[in-house]
Amino acid sequence: MSKDSDRRKQVRAIQSHDDDSVAVVLEDVVSGQIVLLTRPSGTGEMTAREDIPRFHKIALSDFDDGAVLKRHAISIGRATTSIRAGDLVHTHNLVSLNS
């Protein structure tokens, strides 16, 4: 029951640049919750595919294994598996370009 009420709450995320691959969520997000995106060109909405902890990253579109992801218009790493829009992006699916 509480999961359903969590899902109905709106949570926000910051997308720094319009071309970014990810946004940073400002609160804990539960799977299925709608995320309100603030981006330079205005606002948007998307649905989280899994739980995303506060200040972690949510994928804004699908990416192939090996794709380079950007945040704040800067390349932040390479996908180590295919990623779907709404997925959590973190150490389990993203590595540094230096590695």
Binding site: I14, H56, K57, H72, S75, I76, V89, S96
Partner: protein, 389 residues
């Protein structure tokens, strides 16, 4: 009255940028005279003491940057006049020679002149300083456009509110000031690590871009010599738990203070930045040394963001303390001069918040005191470069 172009009231100088404060800069060059210099500064209202406590202990690779820093500080726009204190006449003479273009009143008092007697030395210094203060304090502030400002950008004790809100707002202000013809400077070289390629690509020349990358590589190598592997455990466990995934991801939070302007100059520690545009200064992340290096470039004020709280401030140039963390701002009301927590709950208002910060900057430039000044939390610490022999 609010006009379209932000403006402030500043002190016009004979050369270079205007000052936002009008201090008698007491520049103490030797550790031997440090205790006396502190007493002299206490006896002179309106003075600002910058003390090079390591004096003659500096040798080798530290000599050039330290001497450059002292020469740069001696020309700082916030100084209406300079009183040089030194145990040794020759050190004072070297500095006087570098100021020979007489762009401001300067006097030197040394232990040599005082017959090696500290009591005589202090009296001579207070007399000299009093004369300088009486004359320089006659100068009045005049209206100036904010494009005559040069802001240092610093962060310390950061948290996600810094990297997601406070630092980007500083970046917006930096971009606007530079568009208007002003200047900003960013240091803390190791905070560029992870973004040094992207940062270097913003350089206006290939040389500047190379210098940016080499500055990072040099400090990474220096750290390795001390047994610190900066590339290894980075981001560390705490960073990862906080949501930072890769070293590139982590670096964004700090570099974002520099906005999107091209990097117009590369500075070594102690160099000045007299022109417009964004400068990148190779400096330590350790706040006291970082701020002093940034101030030596000629910045009249620093914008200093913090997430959890950081009481330290610049002394010769005030620090305008900024936080986006509303809990921190409520817990420490007498530390922050600007709270941008509104941008957290209302991100669509970010442009207005940046405009509000610009207004606050102009207030402080015009004489409004920062908490760092009110509470005496300011200091200047010149970087050290090696062990004393």
């Amino acid at each position: 009255m609010k006009t379209n172009t932000p403006n402030f009231l500043g002190y016009r100088r004979a050369a270079g940028r205007p000052g936002i404060r009008n201090y008698l800069l007491i520049l103490n060059l030797t550790g031997l005279t440090s205790p006396s210099a502190i007493r002299v500064a206490k006896d002179l209202y309106g003075s600002c003491l910058v003390s090079m406590d390591h004096g003659l202990a500096i040798s080798g690779r530290g000599e050039t940057p330290v001497n450059n820093t002292i020469k740069s500080l001696a020309r700082h726009p916030n100084a209406g006049a300079v009183l040089i204190l030194s145990a040794h006449q020759h050190k004072a003479d070297d500095l006087l020679a570098s100021m020979a273009d007489h762009d401001r009143p300067v006097r030197a008092v040394t232990l040599d002149q005082a017959g090696r007697d500290a009591l005589t030395f202090r009296t001579m210094a207070v007399r000299a300083g009093a004369g300088l203060l009486s004359e320089m304090s006659r100068q009045q502030r005049e209206p100036m456009p904010w494009s005559e400002l040069f802001l240092a950008l610093e962060c310390g004790m950061s948290d996600p509110s810094s990297s997601l809100f406070a630092n980007p707002i500083v970046g917006l202000v930096s971009d606007r000031l530079i568009s208007a013809g002003g200047a900003t400077v960013i240091g803390e070289t190791l905070e560029w690590l992870g973004n040094e390629v992207a940062f270097s690509e913003r350089a206006v020349t290939a040389d500047i871009g190379e210098s940016v990358k080499q500055a990072v590589a040099r400090r990474v190598a220096l750290a390795k010599e001390s047994g610190i592997d900066l590339m290894g455990n980075n981001p560390n466990k705490a960073n990862i738990a906080a949501g930072l995934t890769t070293i590139e991801d982590k670096a964004i939070g700090s570099v974002v203070k520099s906005g999107s302007a091209p990097v117009a100059a590369f500075l070594n520690y102690g160099d000045r930045h007299d022109g417009p545009g964004l400068a990148a200064m190779d400096g330590p992340s350790y706040t006291p040394e970082s701020l002093t290096g940034l101030i030596a470039t000629g910045a009249q004020m620093s914008l200093f963001t913090s997430g959890v709280g950081n009481s330290f401030a610049g002394r010769l140039a005030p620090s305008l303390k900024i936080t986006a963390n509303s809990e921190t701002a409520e817990r420490i009301p007498e530390q922050f001069d600007f709270c941008c927590a509104e941008a957290v709950t209302h991100p669509e208002r970010i442009d207005q918040v940046a405009e509000d910060l610009i207004e606050r900057i102009c207030e402080v430039a015009s004489g409004a005191l920062t908490f760092g000044e009110i509470l005496g939390e300011g200091d200047e610490v010149i970087a050290r470069f090696g062990e004393t022999l």
